[in-house]
Symmetry: none
Subunit: 195 residues, 4 copies
DNA sequence: TATGAATGAGAATTCATTCAT
DNA sequence: GATGAATGAATTCTCATTCAT
């Protein structure tokens, strides 16, 4: 059981986290100060430093958490569909990611500028359920008699490409909007998987 | 003939541009102030504002200029090699880009965070010689009886993927270093081109 | 006859004067720079200094000119009405001033903050036709067998009181609006004149 | 009892207030910077912004405070004299104001440019003891069977006229010095009161 | 643990003024 | 006379961080 003090502590940290998230996506990182975050969180300015080293520490934690939430969510959607073909599963997974990002443009903006592979790996490591993405891929590779030693690198390239293209398509809508580039993206992803 | 004033103006602007570039890549954008740039350029602080709106205006111009220089350079190297096979040409082009970026890690760091497709298009538009990249691709597509209507989107995806992977491999060396990921990158690029 | 150069010079000075007036009343004195004035006047920045010592030199000249224009205008209106009673003349004169000021609130704001009696005396001295205000008063005093040695001080007090009250009533509308305070103002002015 | 922090806060604010007052009257508002005020107050530059929005916020507060102090002081002097005639009381009150202003020319300069009726009303509202000015007038009006509904507007005109004339006479000594204009001012004030 | 007043370095930006052309 | 590029001092204001309570 969690003590009252413990809970209170969590509350303050959560308040700061949420306030930071709100401010970062709505007014940008450069234009958000620790004062603002503390005030929005309803805690004292000094309290911020009890939980985070500085603005960028909070930012990193937000990026990790939110990124893994997206992957998690996309994985859950894919599982629920109970698709049998591996390529359908992958398409559904990517399609879900794109859908989520399209609904949360501001979040996309934030994580695109800050998400790095190390952070993502940390996310995957910390959140067990993301492992299932990997499991899904492994199962698909075996069923399709593909070289399993390529799973990691392929997954990496797929996520990089999807991330970049999603950012340009959704945020900048340049050089192609999402609907236009999607078929090309899916085609390329399938090529990456198949030998 | 160019007047003395005109020449002097160009000098000041160039000094600011060069000083900005130096400082941005060496100490980061956030940690570079306009005061520092002006001082390093040997001009008055107010002079900065005669040529640039703010720090980010200068940054954008640097990004455009340097990006197009990279593409330009890679194209020149590829041409000089007088390769006959289209796939060899593409490989050489990408290889050249990676080589340049590896030699200018700091520049890579700078442009990766700031290069957006609109900026790159501006660069391509402003610098005629970059057109030859496109020409090279077109010639290759025709020779290989590939669908030329896909040139644009393929080129776009190739550059995005190359950029992302180069950044991770060269700067972060995660999750793969450049030599490890390169074969996979080339393989994927070839798949993108071929149907 | 005026030479072409002379005319051109006058034009530049007039342009600066008009531009300064526009900017001063529309964005305030503190927020108007010599750069802005020069640009609005369509002349070089250095040209400003050929005609005015600084911003406040221009401001003083504007204040003088505009103040005397107001007195002039009010005097003209009064004369045209051909009133026979001195008190009617005075009422008409004050009424005209108030009307002009009400129509040019921004001007009122400008001159109230900057008009000083020395400036007004200069205006009266420089613009002969304002003398007729004095003449009107003198005639009225004699006809009404009033002590003419009090003309100066009475006129002074009347203009001071009118100016202050007009500013509060028209600009701030505090503590009374113009229609409310007017009868009291007229009553007081009449008392100032009559012994 | 007031806490140590609370006391310290008041001290800082008071230091800033006093420093601002000193600098404003001695070197003018435009030529006084927030840096100077903070330094003179012996507090950090940022501390200024904890207590005042900007220079003009401080200026307004100074104007209010000092104006009400003047009225207060004049009222106290008048009361102590225990004059029986209302006109004598009024004369004494005005005379006291002029005396105070004459002794504090710099303050007169400051408040004349910035004092507006709204500010003065705020001062009167915030400082109960100024109410006694109004009480004195009311008592006088009743004793002299004057229309009490005119008290407000008369008091307003008297203060406006006195303020304007005091400024010209004391600061500019134009067009009349204080001793010359005083009898006329008193005469006019009496006329304003009497019907 | 939690607070928030205090700090002062330092950032961006403006602007009057000069002077070579 | 007319210009406008160049200057750099000066100003405002922010903000991360500290620390006494």
């Amino acid at each position: 059981m969690i003590s009252k003090i413990e809970r209170n502590k969590l509350n303050k940290e959560k308040s700061l986290f949420d306030a930071g998230y709100d401010l970062f996506i709505n007014q940008g990182i450069n234009d958000t100060s620790i004062s603002q975050i503390s005030k929005a969180a309803g805690v004292g300015k000094g309290t911020f430093y009890l939980y985070f080293k500085d603005k960028y520490d909070l930012l990193d934690r937000i990026t990790i958490r939110k990124s893994s939430e997206i992957l998690n969510e996309a994985q859950k959607i894919t599982e629920e569909r109970q698709l049998t073909l591996f390529t359908d599963q992958v398409d559904c997974f990517i399609e879900s990611i794109l859908m989520i990002l399209e609904n949360e443009r501001l979040l996309l903006k934030l994580i695109h500028k800050n998400l790095s592979w190390p952070l993502l790996q940390k996310a995957i490591h910390d959140h067990d359920n993301i492992q299932s993405v990997y499991t899904m891929f492994k199962k698909g590779y075996i069923e399709n008699i593909l070289a399993t030693e390529n799973i990691d690198v392929s997954l990496y390239m797929i996520i990089e490409l999807t991330g970049s293209i999603a950012y340009n398509a959704i945020i900048k809508q340049e050089p192609y909007d999402l609907e236009t580039i999607k078929p090309h993206l899916f085609s390329t992803i399938n090529k990456i998987i198949m030998e």
